[in-house]
Symmetry: none
Subunit: 199 residues, 4 copies
DNA sequence: CATGAATGAGGTTTCATTCAT
DNA sequence: GATGAATGAAACCTCATTCAT
């Protein structure tokens, strides 16, 4: 019986959620601070009572998402499952994360590549590296254990998995016909077993 | 009447290639006309001798790419292969297109969603629709023909394929270790047969 | 009967002292109300319980300083000394004033010129005029009395004295190696007798 | 027949002169970019074709002045005069500099203290140090040579001279009744010999 | 007395675009 | 074909000030 930790969100959190939504829809650059303020029912200047800059909103949105994501990934990795189960759990957690933080994930997908050059967002490159290590590790172990095909190009498979999962944030809508878990199951069946029928 | 077909590229074409490169790297909004001009070794104002506007550069880049792409897709569809072969051919052509027009593809991937609302770029929504119809048609026929698994969620598989292929434009570099055809083969083996070993 | 004459300073006075310090350091314009409030350990809005506006703080600081200064100058002038003694007394009182109200003096020196146009600060121009009259009077009397050199350009000497004294507020720090009186003595010896040795 | 080296000033130089004028009159902070542009007969944004920022205008004005000043001071020092002549020459050059670069000097006087903390303006602190060394050197040599009084407090005299000279920029107007050289002569007679008659 | 939150005016800066030369 | 200079709209941000609590 999980007691909801969610107390009433602070004004900051509300505003960040609004900002994330708009950023995700139009892109960071194309989003004006005025637009966010409009959406929040205040004047553009008023946002600066809560945040230092437009960039710091972006920063907070991305770190909030990544911190949460890694906490969950770490829990999965700590469980010590076999490769197939680990892939399953990681993909499932990823789709759950899209469910929880859709705008942040879409934003991350859209902007992280060119933000990574900015010192303030160096953690994006760090995260990307951990990501790569994590997936390559799981995939290689899977190949070694014969959980995955021996001829698998793990680097390519890593990119394939990474992209496939996160791009879903661009079309996924919480409360749609499929739950995050269902989408994860479908994706996994394609990735693990392919779309061609097994004999 | 010197219509240059594939001989030396015109100055326009050179400039468009430059613009596409910069757009792809930084995003359309974040790219300044001055930056494109710098890269082309001229002043910002001088670009307006060649193009009406920044938007018209974007337009020309995207139509150039889509016209080419559809010509090739249409050729594949006209060949009348079976579903598995058609998927194979379409995916292969897609990766070849990334090879030929990488910046344009990356740009398309990044910007098409929110450009679609702009009347000038209505053709993006049209293209997207044709895309969807094409893929859904192939996939459904494949399920009917038992070329693909009976339990395949074709809408989800469509998104999966679409995203998976195009996102590759964000990391693919022509002249890397894998040719476009090799990457296509690897992707197809994952999509068609999965990463788990077949019994 | 709590009229605080010179006992514990009221909160207003404390806040004005803080404001004067910050104004003097960064200039009036460059000083934000928030900065003053920070320094005073409160929020910007809270200052408005004590003062009408940022400008009224400036006003109070400047009038406080000028009222005090003129009371002292008037006492000197009323004493009816000769020119040399009067100059000595005025310069000494000026340095004492710097000692007592350093931030206010620095502020006055820095801002009075362009504040003088503002009707609210018309008293600055008045004060400047009285200043000029006072000094010119003393210097001219001194020349007439042969207390000062016959060839003295009194207008130039006036500016020289005025500037020389007040600019000291920008580097003087109370509690330094020299007392106000000592600095006054040194200044006077330079002004009255020059830095070259007297035969 | 000194051939005027002054070719027609570039647009940049014209704009800098305008900016310096306005900065000097109202202070750097209180001066809006729009005000400068108005004075120059253009729109605020147009200034950014010529300069990176308001700060870079300030920077260029100050470096232009200081470079010129030091070139002249260095020439004086290189001449190897005795202390009294050196002081005379330095003060005279200073007043000439006020004549040439009045707004820049006024600006320097008004803003250098609090700009010095800004890394971009570190050269202000450097210049101030060289200034101090130069003056202290001359004064000490003068005391040793008996050109100046034995009891002279050289540190105090340095400040006295420094301030006295530069503050004149706040009231000096080129083309007034006194030439720069005349003012210098008067100042020097006060500083060197005092305002009291010599016996 | 003080806080937290907001306003609104105005500031600096960016940038696509124009145009005479 | 290209340059140098400018426009003008709109962006981000600052800050004195207000006010309910």
């Amino acid at each position: 019986m999980p007691t909801s930790k969610k107390t009433t969100p602070t004004r900051r959190e509300e505003l960040l959620a609004t900002a994330a939504e708009v950023f995700a829809e139009h892109g960071y650059r194309a989003t004006t601070v005025r637009r966010i303020a409009d959406e929040a029912g205040m004047l553009a200047g008023s946002l600066y009572y809560h945040f230092d800059s437009k960039e710091s909103m972006l920063d907070e949105i991305l770190t909030g998402f990544l911190d949460d994501l890694w906490a969950r990934y770490d829990a999965v990795l700590a469980a010590g499952h076999g490769p197939r189960e680990t892939v399953t759990a990681l993909v499932t957690e990823s789709f759950r994360e899209i469910d929880r933080h859709r705008p942040a994930v879409a934003l991350y997908q859209r902007e992280s590549a060119h933000l990574a050059g900015n010192p303030r967002f160096a953690y994006l490159a760090d995260s990307r590296r951990r990501f790569e290590e994590m997936w390559l590790g799981v995939l290689r172990r899977g190949v070694a254990d014969r959980a995955f095909r021996a001829d698998l190009d793990t680097r390519l498979a890593y990119r394939f998995l990474r992209d496939t999962v996160w791009v879903a944030a661009s079309w996924y809508r919480p409360g749609g016909t499929h739950s995050a878990e269902e989408i994860a199951r479908q994706y996994l069946s394609m990735v693990l077993d392919g779309i061609a029928p097994r004999p």
